[in-house]
Amino acid sequence: MKSIAVYGSYLARIPVKQRYWVKRADGVIQRYWKHTKRMKVAEMSGRYEFWGKGKDLYQAVVKAHKYMPKRFVNVSAEKFAEHPEQYGYQGKWIEKEVES
């Protein structure tokens, strides 16, 4: 399938994770992670792979300018244009060397 790749490095606001431990019934201390309400700005890299019709691709690429991908996102341009917040964090792209 042919698709448009939108990729690079970005700064995004992501929720801070916090670890905690729970002692299980069998005596093992299990580690868990939870998302807190606190947010932090992190530098990450990610990628969208969009497929679809020209008009949807246009809308998706324009929205991809504002919503940074959650790692590797392979999605139809139409679905992404409808609900970009499901597939990405708000942030901004930065210029940094990345491989294709």
């Binding site: 399938m1 042919k2 448009i4 020209g54 246009y58």
Partner: protein, 175 residues
């Protein structure tokens, strides 16, 4: 004197990079290689695997992209690029291949990247009716999309009509 004192501003609003991804087009990303070698290995690969035609694009100084015309399945595609890695002993190409294998699809850049301009077409060889034609159409679309990103409110009618024609016709063929 600082930057502000000279009346210069730091460049802002960086953009994401746009690329063209698919599985059936044989593509090569040859960095740090002189053009005559790129041409030699491209034509040799074309003859070895009967790939009908090719184009070479210059992406930056002594870096080139090669796109072949005949569509092949993904397994065959990977085999051809691996063969080129083996005969050329090109480390950067091997790294690129490994990355494409992880993604399960090969990508070549169509937009500008940092201080590099978009790849430009410098050489054609053989037939250009299938994958090369599709690639050039998608490249046109990618360029229009890159322009649209700069200022979505100021887009031209021509750009949108380009999307309609290029995108729809390509996708109807793909599906």
């Amino acid at each position: 004197m600082g930057i502000r004192g000279n009346g210069l501003r730091k460049k802002s609003n960086p953009k994401p990079i746009l690329g063209y991804t698919d599985t059936e087009t044989v593509k090569l990303d040859l960095d740090n290689m002189p053009f005559k070698w790129v041409k030699y290995w491209s034509v040799k690969t074309l003859k070895q695997f009967r790939l009908r035609g090719l184009i070479i694009l210059k992406s930056s100084a002594s870096s080139y992209h090669v796109v072949f015309d005949r569509p092949v399945p993904w397994s065959k595609n990977v085999g051809i690029v691996a063969w080129v890695c083996l005969v050329t002993k090109h480390r950067r190409l091997t790294e690129w291949l490994v990355m494409q294998l992880i993604k399960k699809g090969s990508t070549l850049r169509v937009s500008s990247k940092k201080d590099k301009s978009p790849p430009r077409l410098i050489y054609r060889y053989g037939e250009q009716e299938q994958q090369v034609k599709d690639f050039l159409q998608f490249r046109k679309l990618g360029k229009a999309l890159a322009r649209a990103e700069i200022d979505p409110s100021n887009r031209k009618q021509k750009d949108i009509s380009d999307f309609k024609h290029t995108g729809c016709s390509l996708m109807s063929r793909v599906r």
